[in-house]
């Protein structure tokens, strides 16, 4: 049971939800993404109440307006890095834009990996690809689940910085859920769950 009184993000605002394992962070993220439906209360994204949408409409809405970076990155292994990005564009129902996808990969410093397979990438490279895939259709809301848990201190800070700057560059709000206290103080707002502040 996750209880949350109210949480509102402004456009382009960044927010960290911090709490220990099992406090409901991932559930919150799934609720916001529309992958779960709340038993009580409502979730609205870009002014759209998700519970008013059918399952299919919610899938489409999520695809168009949100980008999600999971702890486990789930890049499609059968596709190249660039194809993973192009598929995200296709599923978000935005027009195919290979130039934008390549530019984004360049901005993330992995432009030369466009033709590589996910299996050939390092963990850090894979995460950048996952971030690129979550941004390539220019969503309004970027969600990240434990983006720093498997990274050392320096890389953890850099990953959060990357998420923040990239979200800002397209004017998207950013919601990060994590148990990682290293990211405290890096985002606009912090919400602590489970009294573990």
């Amino acid at each position: 049971m996750l209880r949350l009184d109210a949480l509102t993000l402004q456009p382009a605002e960044t927010c960290a939800v911090i709490g220990p394992s099992g406090c409901g962070k991932t559930t919150l993220l799934h609720l916001v993404a529309g992958l779960l439906r709340p038993t009580l209360g409502t979730v609205s994204v870009c002014g759209q109440r998700l519970d008013e949408l059918s399952v299919s409409a919610c899938d489409r809405f999520r695809g168009r307006n949100m980008g999600i970076v999971f702890q486990r990155l789930h890049l499609l292994p059968a596709l190249s890095v660039l194809e993973n990005l192009l598929l995200a564009q296709h599923l978000a129902r935005v027009s195919r834009d290979g130039a934008a996808a390549n530019a984004l990969l360049d901005a993330l410093g992995i432009g030369e990996l466009a033709r590589a397979r996910p299996a050939q990438l390092s963990q850090g490279q894979s995460q950048r690809v996952a971030i690129a895939r979550a941004l390539v259709h220019r969503p309004s809301l970027l969600l990240a689940d434990e983006p720093t848990s498997s990274l050392d201190d320096g890389n953890a800070v850099r990953a959060i910085e990357l998420l923040r700057t990239q979200a800002q560059s397209i004017g998207a709000a950013l919601l990060v859920v994590t148990h990682d206290r290293r990211i405290r103080g890096q985002l606009d707002r912090e919400v602590v769950l489970g009294g573990a502040a």
């Binding site: 489409r60 059968a78 296709h90 195919r96």
Partner: protein, 435 residues
């Protein structure tokens, strides 16, 4: 990047599994296609060669053998029949046309058929060169016989006793080829035609008890005159041949002449109800209808083809099961992929369709391979048969049954994919991603 490309990429990601599935499906499909084509072409060849022949009248014996020997020239004749008796039925009012055949000799494996030009007309055989025979010992070669035995107008050929070659040669009595027929795609192409007189003359000539008037008038149109043998020693072993159809043909006088069979075309289909029964009951002859004998024969062959077809069906089912196992087995490994597709904006229906698409792509590739393989093999087989047997067969035809096969393949493919696709449809994205 769209759904078909994603499906292709997924199939390419496990190339060995995909290849095995496509090859299994292809082999099963090719077997069925080949069996369909062989069955169809066999029956169409048999039907084409029996065109215009409602009834065969010949000596008592096996009706299938009578039809095989005198229509398809594929078996030994059942024996000979008196021409006088055959003529009686030829002039029956129920008979529109009757063509006599006298068999017994061959040249390099091509049968020499004593008959009338009406025989070539049965198959719409046109002369490509020369003319039909006017005198005994003149012959007209069918297209394939002429090509393969290198016969042309003016060639001479020496018939050998017996129908399969290797028999005693009628060395002193060469035929002269006076005409060559255009190809018809029927058995006619592989025959050498001559007059009845020629056959009679050849085989009467050697018998000492025959007419001794020493008349050498070979031009005699009716061939009634019996000739003395210019090469008596060549005929020494002739009488000992037991398996020929025309041994007895030589013993009688002109009234006792014999033929091997009479090919009959009815005036009206009604004749079929009375004429064969009457012949079989009232005479020493046998009447057999090619159509019903073909049907009997094809039923026998059909049993074999059905068995093979069932075997090919098992192959296809195995392939379908393999497709199912591949997709279903991969489902567990790919459940994160499928959940991710949903997160990226794919609806449940789209995820379901993407898996169906993968299954159908496998089936389509297998079917394509199978149809190419089946038709290609048939074409190779057809060319080989045309060269060695004179049977015209081709792989470049399309049968209505193949449409049914395609529908069956798609159905099987859908069934094999449906359960994995349904599982994908029901994927609980949040649970998988949280786990």
């Amino acid at each position: 990047m769209n759904w078909p490309r994603l499906a292709l990429a997924n199939l390419r990601a496990s190339p060995l599994t995909s290849l095995v599935n496509v090859v299994l499906l292809g082999l099963g499909t090719a077997s069925i296609v080949l069996l369909l084509l062989i069955g169809e072409q066999l029956s169409s060849t048999l039907t084409r060669d029996a065109r215009g022949i409602d009834l065969v009248i010949g000596a008592k014996g096996s009706p299938v053998q009578l039809v095989l020997s005198s229509v398809y020239h594929a078996d030994l004749p059942t024996g000979n029949i008196p021409k006088a008796e055959a003529d009686r039925w030829a002039s029956d009012p129920r008979v529109a046309r009757a063509v006599p055949l006298s068999l017994g000799d061959s040249y390099r494996g091509f049968r020499i058929v004593g008959t009338t030009p009406g025989y070539a007309a049965l198959y719409d055989g046109q002369l490509a060169a020369g003319r039909f025979w006017k005198a005994p010992m003149e012959a007209v070669a069918g297209a394939a016989a002429a090509r393969e035995a290198r016969l042309q107008e003016g060639s001479h050929l020496v018939g050998a006793h017996g129908l399969v070659g290797g028999g005693h040669a009628h060395a002193g009595h060469p035929y002269r080829v006076v005409g060559v027929l255009a190809p018809t795609g029927t058995i006619l192409d592989r025959l050498i035609l001559t007059s009845l007189d020629s056959v009679w003359e050849l085989h009467e000539a050697g018998h000492p008890e025959d007419d001794h008037d020493a008349d050498h008038d070979h031009g005699h149109a009716h061939g009634h005159a019996h000739k003395s043998d210019p090469l008596p020693e060549a005929e020494a072993s002739h009488d000992q041949e037991a398996d020929h159809a025309h041994d007895d043909a030589a013993t009688g006088d002109s009234e006792g002449r014999e033929i091997t069979a009479l090919l009959v075309r009815y005036h009206s289909p009604l004749a079929a109800t009375t004429l064969p029964r009457q012949i079989n009951a009232e005479s020493s002859l046998q009447a057999a209808a090619p159509a019903s004998e073909i049907t009997r024969l094809l039923q026998l062959v059909g049993l074999g083809l059905d068995g093979l077809r069932a075997f090919a069906g098992v192959l296809i089912l195995t392939a379908a099961f393999s497709v199912f196992a591949a997709l279903y087995g991969a489902l567990k490994a790919r459940r994160y992929d499928l959940a991710m597709l949903r997160c990226l904006g794919a609806t449940r229906a789209e995820v379901l369709l993407s898996l169906l698409l993968e299954g159908l792509l496998l089936v389509a590739a297998g079917a394509l391979l199978g149809f190419a393989l089946g038709h290609g093999t048939m074409e190779v087989l057809g060319r080989w048969m045309a060269a060695s047997r004179g049977v015209s067969a081709t792989g470049w035809t399309w049968l209505p049954a193949e449409m049914v096969l395609i529908i069956g393949l798609v159905t099987i493919g859908l069934l094999a994919t449906l359960l994995p696709a349904w599982q994908a449809y029901r994927t609980d994205v949040a649970r998988i991603l949280a786990g």
